[in-house]
Amino acid sequence: MTSALGKDLLGLEFLSSEQIQLILDTAEPFKEISERAIKKVPALRGSTIVNLFFENSTRTRISFEFAEKRLSADTVNVASSGSSVQKGETLVDTARNLEAMRIDMVVIRHGASGAATFLADRIESGVINAGDGTHEHPTQGLLDLLTLRDNLGDLKGKRVCICGDVLHSRVARSNIWGLTKMGAEVAVCGPRSLLPNAIEDFGVTVFERIEQAIEWADALNVLRLQLERMTSGYIPSSREYNRVFGVTRERLDRAPRDILILHPGPMNRGVEIDSDVADGPHSVILDQVTNGVAVRMAVLYLLAGGKPELAEAAKGNSR
């Protein structure tokens, strides 16, 4: 059972540019389904999908759930609190027990980097990574790519700067992999304490000052300052962070061109991004959320199928 994407979606690092292109192109017609009066098609009727969320999430979990329901899949949500995880059950045991109830796919969010891959190696069901530690968040990367493509066209040669807390950000990693594969030029900008060591090895430009990034970029993907992951003093204070690295109207007004503003949410308004930027004319933050459902529908649809080689044989044969 391999689909055009394989069994799992674990990270954009493992996809080819053709596969990424396929997902984005497949997401395109799925946008229309969410505009219908009856927002539902029967493509995944009878499939059972478990959303296994070991970390808090509003956007991603609900977006996956909408995507699953709009494809007519049956869904079950498992949160770590209130489940046997609290009694000390291991990740693999939880998943194997779910699998014993005959499920088709698991969407997993977990605080440990590599948790999705670990699980995918040990169960037969398809696994979709909905964010693992500071590693990857592939569907977020894909919806960012789709939103950028909607607004900028072909991404080849487009300049995208990822701003802020790159160190703790799985979104940043998925973006860097996805954007570079699609031929975009990628930069990061943030305080050195919040950039990983050897970030240059990813093939990205590093800007020390937000003004340089704004001067250079076609789009800024502004990351959330992940205060909950900061165990020691990475920055002096959020106020000082805003003063030095905040994406503000005044700074954007000095840009040589209109800059598209993305943010994966949830936003710390007045810290990494000011309200008049987040709600401003070049913000596509809510378009990202809309596109998120379409992208996740595309991923689920592409992963769900049986054998694509049989599709050839069936062509012209089953009109």
């Binding site: 229309e32 389904i33 009066a37 493509a43 649809y301 049986g306 049989l310 599709a311 012209g316 089953s318």
Partner: protein, 188 residues
Amino acid sequence: MPEHDSEKKTVLSASAVERTLRRMAGEIVELNDGTDNLVIVGIQRRGVQLATRLCALIEESEKTSILQGSLDITLYRDDLQTIGPRPVVGPTNIPWGIDGKNVVIVDDVLYTGRTVRAALDEIADFGRPARIALAVLIDRGGRELPIQPDVVGKQLTIEPGDRVDVLVDDLDGRTAVVIVPTSGDAAP
């Protein structure tokens, strides 16, 4: 389209397709008793091209404009689990309400009837038309479901393994209907 297709047999030439569509356009208007409430919906992809042509012919003869939509039935197929997803899903475009309308579904070839079954399901998710009719350029027999066309361009009897390809100018560079023997590997 490659021109070295000697084993391909042309059933309808470009001018024959045009004549046939002209007759079908007339029959659609007759069936519907005019063009009031008429909505023409093509099935992706070649059904859409044929629907566009039919609409133009009806608009020309009836001096009125016709609502035209398109359907992609990929997500309504009953064989996703066996054949796997078809990567390319085309757009569905039915932007107006279809409650109480007379919908005519247009497709290029009617074979097993499964595509039409899926199209009926999809249309039901958009509303409740007064009636739904089916117009196809080619009826090749071989039905697996109790579905029959209301307007037919041409009926053909074809070996189960063989394929009928409807070629349209926009996608294939020429207009024709050809029969491709089993060994043929060109995708429709």
